[in-house]
């Protein structure tokens, strides 16, 4: 029931007269959605409005049927899990396993279930074996994975990431892409702020582009990443493969290497086609 989040005509200001969000309307539904746009466009503020950490100055945010103005973040946490950009804003326990179990216990899971889910989430993030270590003895990319595991362990219907790929190497980026895709396939609502357009193009079904506190584009990656006007307003460039397709004047929009090769051979090497 709480898989949908309705953001309706939301305005938000940290200080009077300086709105950071200016009339944002979005309905988040099951599937994987990326939010793109330059720093300062209002992406992180929007994210904090989705679980009641912030409440709108004007307009409303509904998590399922629950209005975020009438419910505490602790009540909404059962439905919406957020992984912050900086793991150090999130991690505070001195043992990794306690950290990953904290969220599940907090939303009322039994000790047994919390432990089981924590172990499963750690296995998924490929960080098994560090349960007894202090997170702050571990590297930034590992702390980032701990922060992600601690939210996945809560098994919420909505999972929100703020730039999950920061500091991850190639293997880490691939793994996160796989996790995002899997969560989407399980029918969860996955929302992620993304600055790496190659990651956004490859793994996300819906792209929302923001600029100056407003939504400037909302659609499939094939559409949004070919809309140069909209991209320019959001100060982002399309994924590398789309840039290459543009430079070679391909009509179709490739988001994966396989698609690029297929479209390129169809359009530019017709004689080679079998």
């Amino acid at each position: 029931m709480s898989k949908t989040i309705k953001v309706d005509e939301v305005w938000f200001s940290y200080s009077p007269g300086q709105p950071v969000l200016r009339g944002v309307t979005i309905t988040f539904t099951p599937g994987v959605t990326a939010i793109i746009g330059e720093n300062g466009a209002g992406k992180t503020t929007l994210m904090k409005l989705l679980n009641g950490l912030l409440t709108p100055s004007k307009g409303s945010v509904l998590v399922g049927e629950l209005d975020t103005r009438e419910h505490l973040t602790s009540q909404l946490a059962k439905y919406v899990g957020i992984v912050f950009q900086n793991p150090d804003d999130q991690i505070f326990k001195s043992k990794v396993i306690d950290e990953v179990m904290f969220g599940p216990l907090n939303i009322g899971m039994s000790l047994e279930e919390a432990h089981r889910r924590a172990k499963a989430a750690m296995a998924e993030l490929q960080i098994t074996g560090i349960e007894e270590e202090n997170p702050y003895d571990l590297s930034y990319p590992v702390r980032k994975r701990i922060a992600i595991a601690s939210i996945l362990a809560m098994n919420t219907e909505v999972v929100i990431f703020d730039e999950p790929t920061i500091g991850q190497d190639i293997a880490g980026v691939r793994l996160l892409g796989k996790i995002v895709t899997k969560l989407g396939a399980e029918g969860k609502t996955v929302i992620s702020i993304v600055h790496d357009m190659n990651f956004a193009g490859q793994f996300f079904q819906r792209i929302i582009s923001m600029a100056e506190g407003q939504v400037v584009a909302d659609g499939k990656p094939e559409e949004v990443f070919r809309d140069w006007g909209g991209l320019k307003r959001a100060h982002v460039s399309p994924p590398s493969l789309v840039q290459l397709a543009d430079a070679l004047e391909l009509k179709q929009t490739p988001l994966t290497e396989e698609q690029f090769i297929k479209y390129y051979c169809q359009e530019r090497l017709p004689k080679r086609n079998r």
């Binding site: 330059e38 720093n39 590297s139 920061i166 190497d169 982002v236 290497e257 090497l269 004689k271």
Partner: protein, 282 residues
């Protein structure tokens, strides 16, 4: 110029070296990108060039590391820091935390060098234009977004115009526009003859803006060469790295002998693919 010879380093109480027998030279004004998996030794190498390894982290070091003729492991941190600037991954680790405006933050390092006010203002203007932060000079550094904050952190290092600048994932917190600005700044530094060593996961950017790419795996230097040569190596996957996406699709479309080098940038790939089409349409 950086000269490294048979450099081996162990963190305290570690049995495995973090850096193993590294040998390579970076010419003055050259820009070298370093890639590899997390844990490969990339950050440790940055700390070694800056002298934080071994002077701050201690541990055991052997071999030589010269920066502008100074043997870093033997010199004091103060001496090294006059030649090398380090830009950290996280700007919160870089900013002093004691200055109320961006302008004062950038001035902080310059004041410590005893620079006259006029010259200081010139430097601040130069660096803020270069990094696109002129409109932020009167803001509080901690009111900025992550990306803006990182640009200020970079500016505070650049302002001191060190001969060598080492950057440890300088764009990891930045949006695409901010990333572009940092790489534009790296180009500007290269034109000014400043040596840059950049650890990054964004290979497409490194391939376009670095003279050479070095690959680290398990503390060892596996390769260092021109981007078109390094990314043509068959062992990349074993080392946990892969070529830019342009190179990957080019290799799959034009499966041929790539020993002479592969395209690694958008522009080169478009040219090479067009040439390939001409040869295969007849």
């Amino acid at each position: 110029m950086i000269q490294i010879e048979r450099l081996t380093y162990y963190y305290p109480h570690q049995e495995e070296p973090a850096l193993k027998e590294l040998t390579f030279t970076v010419q003055q004004g050259e820009s070298v990108g370093i890639i590899g998996l997390n844990g490969a030794g990339k950050s440790t190498l940055c700390y070694a060039i800056m002298g934080l390894v071994p002077h701050f982290y201690h541990g055991t070091i052997s071999g030589d590391l010269w920066v502008n003729g100074i043997n870093v492991p033997d010199a004091s941190l103060g001496e090294v820091s006059q030649h090398v600037g380090l830009v950290f991954q996280n700007p919160l680790h870089q900013l002093s935390g004691s200055k109320a405006t961006v302008k004062d933050e950038i001035a902080f390092g310059l004041e410590n060098l005893g620079m006259p006010r006029e010259k200081m203002l010139e430097r601040i203007e130069w660096v803020s234009e270069l990094l696109g932060i002129a409109s932020l000079l009167h803001r509080n550094p901690f009111s900025l977004s992550g990306g803006q904050m990182q640009r200020v952190a970079i500016a505070s290092v650049l302002a001191m115009k060190p001969q060598v600048i080492v950057m440890d994932e300088p764009t990891s917190q930045l949006d695409p526009a901010g990333t572009a600005e940092v790489f534009a700044a790296i180009e500007a530094l290269r034109k000014e003859g400043i040596t840059t060593v950049i650890v990054e996961h964004k290979i497409e950017w490194l391939a376009e803006h670095c003279n050479r790419i070095a690959i680290l795996a398990d503390g060892e230097l596996k390769a260092i060469d021109l981007p078109g040569k390094v990314f043509a190596q068959p062992d990349l996957h074993e080392w946990g790295v892969e070529p830019p996406v342009y190179t990957r699709v080019y290799q799959k479309i034009a499966a041929e002998n790539h020993s002479s080098g592969v395209p690694t940038t958008l522009k080169d790939t478009v040219e090479r693919l067009k040439a390939y089409e001409q040869n295969n349409q007849g």
